[in-house]
């Protein structure tokens, strides 16, 4: 497997090459876990680092994410039924009343690129839907996103719904989105705030003790 080539193609956002190279790697005997751990995860970590150094912006991050997804698209069918090696499971959604999901989608992909298993609940997610997702499967992190001050209160309502259903034990809550702040995160009793997708990966890793 040419680890470096896959890594470079992800950074260039070249999904077609990633797909070809990953297929080639698998044909040559690499396991999906190997491909993920040795090329995709390091590439996405570098994407985050470049974003933090202001060498990458959202456009570059989006095409790198798309390229990584092309690689995962090859690998996923090969991993069905295998024991999960994810560093943690994240249920993520944009909160009720808010349709904006570009940021949330980016956070999902960056987390996936860091080895998390993602349950993407979509946009305009009602508190009950977050509750149902947590009841369905053991989840390490709940992620909530909001773009507007007028939809931020839905985060608090979701927190209350989770607490009422007795689901907050053993689960960490990560929040983000344009109007969010550490103060608001503290105020509603969430466990972590991240201002961007790269910071979200760091914070999520911290929250599951993998940081």
């Amino acid at each position: 497997m040419d680890v470096r080539e896959i890594y470079d193609a992800v950074l260039r956002g070249d999904g077609t090459s990633v797909e070809t190279l990953v297929k080639q790697a698998v044909a040559e005997g690499a396991t999906p876990q190997q491909v993920i751990a040795e090329s995709l995860v390091p590439a996405m970590a570098e994407v985050g680092a470049r974003f933090e150094r202001a060498e990458f912006f959202v456009p570059e991050m989006l095409i790198a994410s798309r390229a990584m997804q092309a690689g995962l698209g090859v690998l996923r069918p090969l991993m069905v039924g295998e024991q999960s090696t994810a560093v943690g499971r994240v249920a993520m959604g944009t909160v009720q009343g808010d349709m904006h999901d570009l940021g949330k989608n980016l956070v999902c992909t960056m987390l996936e690129g860091a080895g998390f298993e993602i349950v993407d609940l979509g946009a305009d997610v009602a508190p009950e839907k977050f509750v149902a997702a947590l009841q369905q499967a053991k989840t390490d992190i709940v992620g909530m996103s909001a773009l507007m001050t007028t939809t931020m209160p839905a985060m608090e309502r979701t927190m209350k719904a989770l607490a009422k259903a007795g689901l907050l034990d053993g689960v960490k809550v990560l929040v983000g989105g344009a109007p969010l702040s550490q103060e608001y995160c503290d105020e509603i009793g969430a466990n972590g705030y991240a201002p961007d997708a790269s910071a979200a990966v760091r914070k999520a890793s911290e929250l599951v003790g993998a940081g």
Binding site: A54, L102, T149
Partner: protein, 381 residues
């Protein structure tokens, strides 16, 4: 000193009697629910709430309310082309604009979101075949010169013409979709340039038509192009400089040729990094001075750019203070921004974008009371 003299002095970087105030414009008004709450709080009738802009669901506030808040600016719009028919589909709560962009309001939402974009493929071929609306359609300016003249002669306010569409970047993503255009920026630069060029050509023809009619009667021409997110550039500053800045300059050159009016650019977010470029691109006034975004400290902005650009907005942090603070917090915040931005002129007070339904009416009243009270020159005197 009347409102117009006050605004013109401020735009000329001189100190008038007090800081001019803008309230009720396309980006300095309020959502109809916030307005209804305000009217109830003020004990005014709520039976007439005219929507000024469907997309944002904002109102054109009543003259009595504008006077109460000491508004110094009046605005007006070019018309839609006569052959465009606005139709709201009540079933999906959506509408389509004359470019083919679809807007939809989510159930329970406060305003409309972009929900569909005509440029689906993102190819030069598709762009070539895509029919833009007619920028030079004379129905867009029918009667407009008289309307502008009436505002000039019958009011003592500064007269502003609003932009009916966004700037080169904004209109590009309206047509293409934000995520798709972002990806194009990273892997199909030629397309991004081609789209920007066609949008610019449209804007040049449109503003030429409009300003030939109203150029002598307006004091401010409003443009818009967002470049900032909460924490910095929306996309690479190099790309902004290479693709958009030069086109902004071509547009401002045309406008400055056609009118003596100042050019107002509405540009949200964290844009400290872009301000010297924005100044170089021919912009006279920057709005909304989003103080809640990174690097937007008003004292530093004034110190570094205050000689070269007028700040218009800045009136209270719209994320933490205006919706969630007390009236006292709002007043303190307004005082701080005035102290930073007003000395020497070059400042028009306004809200940072339109006031949303979560802002309590007593905070709105406190904001404009503070603008009037603390905005008297000499500042802090």
């Amino acid at each position: 000193m009347n409102s117009r003299e006050r605004v013109l002095l401020a735009l000329d970087h001189q100190e008038p009697d007090r800081v001019p105030i803008d309230f009720g414009g396309l980006v300095t008004s309020l959502h109809h629910e916030a307005y209804r709450n305000l009217l109830l709080y003020l004990g005014l009738p709520t039976d007439d709430i005219p929507i000024m802009d469907t997309f944002q669901q904002i109102v054109d506030p009543a003259p009595a309310v504008k006077d109460m808040f000491h508004a110094d600016v009046v605005g007006f719009f070019p018309h839609d082309a006569a052959d465009f028919e606005f139709k709201l589909d009540p079933e999906t709560d959506s509408f389509v604009d004359e470019w083919g962009v679809v807007y939809r309001r989510p159930p329970g939402g406060y305003w409309y979101d972009l929900a569909g974009h005509p440029l689906q493929e993102g190819t030069i071929e598709e762009l070539k075949n895509f029919q833009f609306p007619d920028a030079g359609d004379p129905s867009r300016v029918k009667g407009l010169a008289d309307e502008a003249k009436r505002l000039l002669e019958e009011t003592d306010k500064a007269v502003m013409i609003h932009a009916p569409i966004g700037g080169v970047f904004e209109q590009s993503y309206w047509l293409r979709g934000l995520e798709a255009l972002f990806m194009d920026m990273a892997d199909n630069r030629a397309y991004v340039e081609a789209l920007a060029e066609r949008v610019l050509e449209w804007l040049l023809e449109f503003w030429s038509l409009v300003l030939d009619e109203v150029g002598p009667s307006v004091h401010v021409v409003e443009l818009s192009d967002d470049l900032g997110g909460q924490h910095g550039p929306l996309f690479s500053p190099d790309l902004y400089r290479e693709v958009y800045k030069l086109r902004h300059r071509r547009l401002t050159d045309l406008i400055h040729q056609k009118t003596d009016a100042k050019i107002f650019l509405h540009c949200c977010g964290s844009i400290y990094w872009a301000l010297s470029d924005i100044i170089e691109s021919g912009v006279d006034i920057i709005n909304p001075v989003q103080v809640s975004a990174r690097d937007m400290e008003t004292d530093r902005l004034k110190r570094e750019f205050g000689r070269d650009i007028v700040f218009w907005g800045g009136g209270a942090d719209p994320i933490r203070v205006l919706p969630f603070g007390t009236p006292r917090d709002v007043k303190e915040e307004a005082r701080r921004r005035i102290n930073d931005l007003a000395p020497g002129g070059g400042f028009v007070f306004g809200t940072i974008h339109n006031i949303q339904p979560d802002v309590p009416p007593d905070n709105i009243v406190a904001l404009f009371e503070a603008a009037h009270e603390y905005g008297q020159y000499p500042i802090g005197g």
